[in-house]
């Protein structure tokens, strides 16, 4: 039974998708959308530790503990956001939605290299359809940047997975076996580099973050919610599953931690210059996922293994609920919705949950990752990141005044927002003990509360001072360095393209082709006649 549920995590969305091919069923499917992710939630509750093999397809599924936490959070997000699509006019959007859902939930349970690569590709590439459904002027650029980076990331991952498969002495394709053999692999460093590049692009580590601020403001709001909340976590589970967290590799750990903390701070600083609240949320994702990257780096430094993996998943799951909830709240806070100003306080609380506001779910999440960061420099950086998140979220709340929220997504948004807000606050407290073994009471000491509150209070003071002094904050175009990269890459690709065209034209001339023919015959002849 529990194993059947596991298989249906992926199968049910695909089943609905195949029904979608029959136009008469489409209206019914739109109503049934919230059911599609339900097996994910059920599996997260019931199927931990089970595995499924589908031998003819060589698919292995298994639910690890970190996977279960992330799967549960992502399923909740998909369930509550799906009703927002009930009145969506675009049929194709629904199809992409189901496909992305299948991949997004599937990566958390994939247990072999090929299945993981398949599901990872599904969630990355079908998100293309979700972004392309946007109607803004920047959607074309958002799509091309997103797809280019997604494909690039997958190329890195393919290489990494091949290296993993080759390194495994038994040629096992199971992720657990392959990763266990990784520390002894002759290709170890290249593999880890490719893994970090591939998953780093997915979770938006600087400078691979440019797609986030470009796509989230352009995609329809529900799409932005599931992408920032659920889809990005495919990179998080990737880092957890594939990095050899149990063996200490300090050099790689430090490198990843530095990249992560850089992203965490970079996201804050550039996010402060943004005017669109969706872009602010995107940069907040860059910052939060930077912290996740740093956590993975610290875990790799010390080789703290399973405990660190749980902490990372815990932190990621909290982010799933909060970021999804904040996007879902946007339609409720638009110009036409002044009556709902009373929402501002709960939104503020949830937003500050990202910074670890005492008693919120984020407070628990910060407490869980504290041992991974340790007391040294990394611990201090964690505090700085919290302060930065506070700054960024206060900025977000101020930008809400000017949000041109798409009123078309209002239906269902209230339900989504309140459920996610409640889940983000309550679930971390409930899951804390079964997941990590520590009790909620231990987290509630006066010292811990004060330590968590300190960066938030400091940042609030800074924000107040900044707004009082009326210092003009410059505006950085959303996607910051993407423009620079364009300017650098465009001429390069033009030159390369022209060179290729010249090569092609030259070789397609008669004399050249005939000479080439003779040369090939002669050189091959000389080589072959010389013997093997």
């Amino acid at each position: 039974m529990t194993t059947t549920i596991l298989a249906f995590v992926v199968l049910l969305p695909l089943l609905l998708l195949s029904c979608w091919l029959a136009p008469p069923l489409r209206q019914a499917i739109r109503t049934l959308l919230p059911i599609a992710p339900a097996p994910g939630l059920a599996a997260a509750l019931l199927s931990r530790g089970t595995t499924v093999e589908l031998p003819p397809l060589q698919i292995h599924l298994a639910l690890t503990d970190p996977g279960a936490i992330l799967l549960g959070a992502a399923s909740i997000l998909w369930i509550v956001v799906s009703p927002m699509l009930r009145r969506a006019t675009d049929d194709r959007f629904v199809a992409w939605w189901l496909l992305t859902m299948a991949g997004s939930l599937g990566v958390f349970i994939a247990a072999d290299l090929v299945s993981f690569y398949l599901l990872f590709s599904v969630v990355s590439l079908s998100a293309y359809g979700l972004i392309a459904a946007g109607s803004g002027p920047g959607v074309g650029r958002a799509v091309s940047v997103y797809v280019s980076l997604a494909v690039l990331g997958e190329a890195f991952l393919l290489l990494a997975f091949i290296l993993l498969a080759v390194a495994s002495p038994t040629r096992s394709l199971l992720i657990a076996d392959a990763v266990a053999a990784l520390p002894g692999s002759p290709w170890r460093d290249l593999t880890i580099a490719c893994l970090i590049l591939g998953f780093g692009l997915k979770i938006g580590l600087v400078p691979g973050h440019v797609w986030m601020p470009l796509t989230y403001p352009e995609a329809p709001l529900p799409a932005a919610a599931v992408m920032s909340g659920a889809a990005v976590k495919s990179g998080v589970i990737g880092l957890i599953l594939f990095l050899p967290l149990s063996s200490a590799l300090p050099a790689w750990g430090h490198a990843l931690a530095v990249i992560g903390f850089t992203s965490a701070l970079y996201g804050v600083f550039v996010g402060l210059t943004q005017r669109d609240p969706r872009a602010v949320l995107a940069y907040s994702s860059v910052s939060q996922m930077g912290l996740v990257g740093a956590l993975a780096g610290m875990a790799l430094t010390t080789g703290s293994g399973a405990a660190a993996a749980m902490a990372i998943a815990f932190y990621g799951a909290h982010h799933v609920l909060v970021k999804g909830g904040l996007f879902a709240a946007l339609p409720l806070l638009g110009h036409e919705a002044r009556a709902e100003r009373h929402l501002l306080l709960p939104v503020a609380i949830i937003a500050l949950s990202l910074a670890g506001l005492p008693l919120t779910g984020g407070y628990v999440a910060k407490a869980v990752i504290k041992p991974v960061l340790g007391d040294g420099l990394a611990g201090t950086m964690g505090m700085v990141a919290s302060a930065g998140s506070t700054l960024l979220m206060l900025h977000f709340l101020r930008r809400l005044e000017g949000v041109e929220a798409a009123a078309r997504w209002r239906s269902g948004a209230a339900l989504a927002w309140w459920t996610l807000a409640g889940a983000a606050t309550a679930l971390p407290w409930i899951v804390l003990r079964p997941a990590t073994g520590s009790t909620p009471g231990a987290a509630l000491s006066i010292g811990a509360l004060a330590e968590a509150a300190a960066p938030i209070i400091a940042s609030a003071v800074v924000t107040a001072a900044l707004s009082a002094s009326r210092i003009a904050i410059p505006t950085v175009p959303s996607g910051d360095v993407a423009g620079l990269a364009d300017r650098g890459l465009a001429p390069l690709s033009r030159v390369l393209g022209k060179a290729m065209a010249r090569t092609d034209e030259t070789t397609r001339q008669w004399p050249v082709a005939c000479i080439a023919l003779l040369v090939i015959a002669l050189v091959l002849g000389a080589t072959l006649a010389a013997g093997p």
């Binding site: 494909v151 690039l152 290489l159 091949i162 080759v166 065209a501 002669l522 072959l528 006649a529 093997p532």
Partner: protein, 487 residues
């Protein structure tokens, strides 16, 4: 049992009208499947000696696992093409056969028999006959519509292919001069240690490369493949270039007694790598869909030639048992299905929209969802995304290249995949956009033709379900028994 192989050729001979061709195709497909089943059951190659004369005097046919696979591939693609083309090249309402349809069906059958000989024959001169048959049947297909551009393209193709034939024949002559036989097994047995054999194989290879359009010998391919009608392009790209590739494969691994040696194999691999890069980059720059697909063929042919260094490089295993060998053949199959499906879908798209400019593909996904699905599914396999035959092939070849310690091929494969993603994504993205012009109403039979294209593309995807290891079926009947006919 042996009669089946012979019949496959006879049936595939010159047939004239559509109805006769249909009958021939049904029988031919059945025979091909029977042949493959027989090889699978017997687990050894089937030999058939024509007329009871043993080599070196007689002509031997031989169906090993590889040949049987290829025969089935050819039969399936030919049958699919015939289904696709049936509504176009049917008899006119006046009752008579048009020139184009007569040419089409004749050439289709001729190509089929050419391929059957190329795959089954064990005699170098027979292979030459097969090559000529392929060339002379393929050229009229290119210029089927009789426009001056396609005539020019066909003429280019003819001339260059003939240059290739001359080299092949020269090589054959050298072998006959030194070994006094043209039977592949006997040549391999007698030719050990002869320098002449190396030169002969080199000449023949160069000639075959010209026919396969391996970079830099691809001058004829883009225009020939883009100018031919969709059904013909599908055959040319999926099968005809594969015929000569397979002969290269057999020359190098069957005729050369000690195998090709790493240096020579690396040279072929290098040409393949260049083909991948140049072909993919050129495909990115094309404005027209059919030219894009044609350049993509050049790139995909490049992948096939990576088999030579990869299968030789691992050393210990016999080449045909290596995963590179399986990967290469899988790539060949996946590309054949994907490319045939893609050309057919492009044909329907061009009819629907009245042009084949990529930028103007908008509205296709809404107007012809099946065609769009075929383009997308075929594209998936060409890019090498899972689940697809293209992905499995790429996976095996990447593993092989790291096993052999030849990481540079892995880099080329990955870059080629990125470029392919670029040009395929452009097509899909344009086709998903809203259209500007109203699509033309569907001609009768369009649904069927869309279905054929989609079925081929989905077969390419389905090949991805093959287990990710070396296939035992492809190794059946290898190595070639060198004492054949001597007992």
């Amino acid at each position: 049992v042996p009669a089946a192989t012979a019949l496959a050729i006879i049936v595939a001979g010159g047939r004239w009208a559509r109805q006769v061709a249909a009958l021939g195709i049904v029988v031919g497909v059945g025979l091909a499947l029977a042949l493959a089943a027989r090889v699978e059951i017997d687990q050894h190659a089937i030999n058939y000696v024509l007329g009871g004369w043993q080599p070196p005097l007689g002509i031997a046919l031989r169906a090993d696992g590889l040949a049987a696979t290829m025969v089935v591939l050819a039969a399936v693609i030919i049958a699919a093409t015939a289904l696709y083309a049936a509504p176009i090249f049917g008899p006119t309402t006046e009752g008579g056969e048009t020139r184009a349809s007569l040419t089409f069906w004749t050439c289709l059958m001729a190509i089929w028999s050419g391929l059957a000989i190329a795959f089954l024959s064990n005699d170098l001169f027979n292979l030459y006959v097969a090559l000529e048959l392929l060339t002379f049947a393929a050229v009229p297909l290119v210029s089927l519509d009789g426009r001056s551009q396609t005539l020019e393209a066909a003429l280019r193709y003819l001339l260059f292919a003939l240059a290739g034939s001359v080299l092949y024949l020269l090589g054959t002559a050298i072998i006959y001069g030194t070994s006094a036989t043209l039977d592949i097994g006997l040549v391999a047995a007698r030719g050990a240690g002869q320098t002449g054999l190396g030169w002969a194989v080199a000449l023949m290879t160069a000639g075959l490369l010209a026919k396969t359009a391996l970079f830099p010998l691809h001058l004829w391919l883009p225009r020939a493949h883009a100018g031919a009608p969709a059904a013909a392009s599908a055959i040319l790209s999926a099968l005809v270039v594969k015929g000569s590739f397979l002969i290269v494969l057999r020359l190098w691994f069957d005729v050369l007694p000690a195998g090709p040696g790493l240096h020579a194999a690396t040279m072929l691999g290098a040409l393949g790598a260049a083909a991948i890069l140049v072909g993919s980059a050129m495909a990115l720059r094309q404005e027209r869909l059919k030219l894009l697909i044609a350049y993509s063929t050049i790139a995909q042919i490049g992948y096939l030639f990576l088999v030579f260094p990869l299968a030789t490089g691992t050393g210990a295993t016999p080449p045909w048992a290596s995963i590179a060998w399986t990967g290469g053949i899988l790539q060949l199959l996946a590309h054949a299905f994907a490319k045939a499906g893609m050309f057919m879908a492009a044909g329907v798209a061009a009819e629907t929209l009245g042009h084949d400019r990529i930028d103007g593909l908008g509205g296709l996904a809404g107007a012809r969802p099946w065609t769009f699905a075929a383009l997308a599914a075929a594209g998936l396999s060409l890019v090498g995304l899972p689940p697809s035959g293209g992905f499995s092939a790429k996976w095996l070849m990447l593993i092989a290249s790291l096993d052999a310690g030849q990481w540079w091929w892995a880099a080329i494969i990955l870059i080629g995949g990125l470029l392919a993603a670029g040009y395929i994504f452009r097509v899909i993205d344009c086709a998903l956009r809203p259209g500007e012009s109203k699509p033309k109403p569907a001609a009768p039979g369009t649904r069927l033709r869309e279905g054929v294209a989609l079925a081929l593309a989905l077969t390419a995807i389905g090949l991805g379900l093959m287990p990710l290891r070396s296939s035992a079926f492809l190794a059946i009947g290898r190595p070639l028994p060198q004492e054949v006919g001597l007992q």
